[in-house]
């Protein structure tokens, strides 16, 4: 379970998160939607401690992420993150990309690390691309590689930050399919997304985020059918047309 409690985040004088509170239950798929620049990526990067916060608290399985003495490297082992810009490692092949975490974070023997990597690459449909470099893969394949790389750590949570936004329209579906399979497997997912079909059909809950705070959060169907706030319905009608 991930609990955000009144989280405040500033970049210099820019207030990005203004007291954000919500909970991610184990096994749920939470989609975060909202306008550009509202702080959605920032929330995800605070959740695994890539960004410090200035107020409030984030608790992952009972551990306070930003407390002094929290070992962030250990914590990140159970929180996978996938970014908009893939961020695959260009000097490593697909299998080396996916084996890096198990090998160099968990200290698994090489054979075991490679095996874990192979299982995940097959799962995301890259079983025939093990020895390809990222530059030899399409955008959709690179993004699936980034997902497999995170999964090879066998995390309890996956954070997705607009993972389909940088893709050609034709490649979006294969990545969404992969995420959907993961959701069906019971993975706990927090996905920042502009894909309303994913938010509506795959996620259990949807949070509408605007100007540094959650405007409303609830079951996906409810948010889409009758949003409680005018700004939510304005955003939804804008993005769906």
């Amino acid at each position: 379970m991930i609990v955000l409690n009144n989280v405040e985040k500033r970049y210099g004088s820019l207030e990005v998160l203004k007291g954000v509170s919500f909970t991610v239950e184990t096994g749920e798929v939470l989609s975060i939607i909202g306008p550009s620049g509202s702080g959605k990526s920032t929330i995800l990067q605070c959740m695994n401690g890539l960004e410090p916060i200035q107020g409030g608290e984030i608790i992952v399985d009972g551990v306070s992420v930003h407390a002094k003495g929290t070992n962030l490297n250990t914590l990140r082992q159970k929180i996978g993150i996938v970014f908009q810009q893939f961020n695959t490692f260009p000097h490593l092949t697909a299998i080396q990309n996916a084996a890096l975490g198990p090998r160099r974070v968990l200290g698994a023997p090489k054979k075991e690390a490679v095996e874990r990597a192979r299982v995940q690459l097959e799962k995301v449909g890259l079983g025939d691309k093990l020895d390809h470099y990222p530059s030899q893969l399409s955008g959709g394949q690179q993004q699936r590689l980034a997902i497999a790389r995170a999964l090879a750590m066998e995390p309890s949570y996956m954070l997705f930050d607009e993972v389909t936004s940088a893709l050609d329209p034709g490649l979006v579906r294969e990545v969404l399919e992969t995420m959907k399979l993961l959701a069906e497997d019971g993975m706990t997912i927090v996905a920042v997304t502009h894909e309303m079909a994913f938010a509506r059909d795959v996620s259990t809950r949807v949070a509408y985020f605007d100007a540094g705070n959650i405007v409303e959060i609830g079951p996906a169907r409810e948010i889409f059918a009758n949003p409680a706030h005018a700004s939510t319905s304005a955003f939804l009608s804008h993005i769906q047309h």
């Binding site: 990067q45 695994n48 890539l50 490297n73 250990t74 914590l75 990140r76 082992q77 996978g80 993150i81 970014f83 810009q85 893939f86 961020n87 695959t88 490692f89 260009p90 000097h91 490593l92 890096l100 975490g101 160099r104 974070v105 470099y133 530059s135 030899q136 980034a146 790389r149 995170a150 750590m153």
Partner: protein
Amino acid sequence: MFGSYTFDWTPVWNAAPELLYGAYVSLQIAVLTFLLGSAIAFFLALAKNSGRAILSVPANAWIEVSRNTPCLFQIYMLYFGLGAIAPSLDSYSSVFLAITFNNAGYMAEIIRGGLKAIPPTQTRAARGLGLTAPRAYLFVIVPQLIPVIYFPSVNQFIWSLLNTSLGMIVGLNELTGVTYSLQSITFRTFEFFIVTAALYYVMVKIVTALGAWGSRVLLPNATKGERR
């Protein structure tokens, strides 16, 4: 009278062992100061980029002084200047330390330039996996940095090899120093300087060839690892 100058190569030939030993000393200083300077440069680059004044101010001072003053002065400062405040250094140590100081400054800027070519999101992705900062550097950043800084580093090595000739000024028996004393004994100035120039030329050509060969061995997938 110039037209009637008669070349006499015998003294040069007889001095071949001394010249070759001088070349060996030059090469030795160049290699060791380059390795040591590059190692220091890596930390200077990180310190300058750290955004913390306690690290970046001294690092920046090192980089600025080493790159914006003549290497000759840097050797002088250690050889003559240091004597005023500390036990003075012998010629080998002062040349060695000055060229290390100089190399570190130049290599730091080469490394910083290389780091700029690697998107910061690579570090973010590596840390996001749970890699510690040193491991993120070792397994993700440095392997991408090497192809970027490789050829500038080879150039810097050549530059520092030629800079070892400044050792002559403080009486060090590197190639130029050896040449200088031999020609003053034998008065065959022309012959000695021509041969020494040729030796430098050959050394640089060998380094260049090794550099090209090394790039094929060390960077086999430099073209595959292209960035988006």
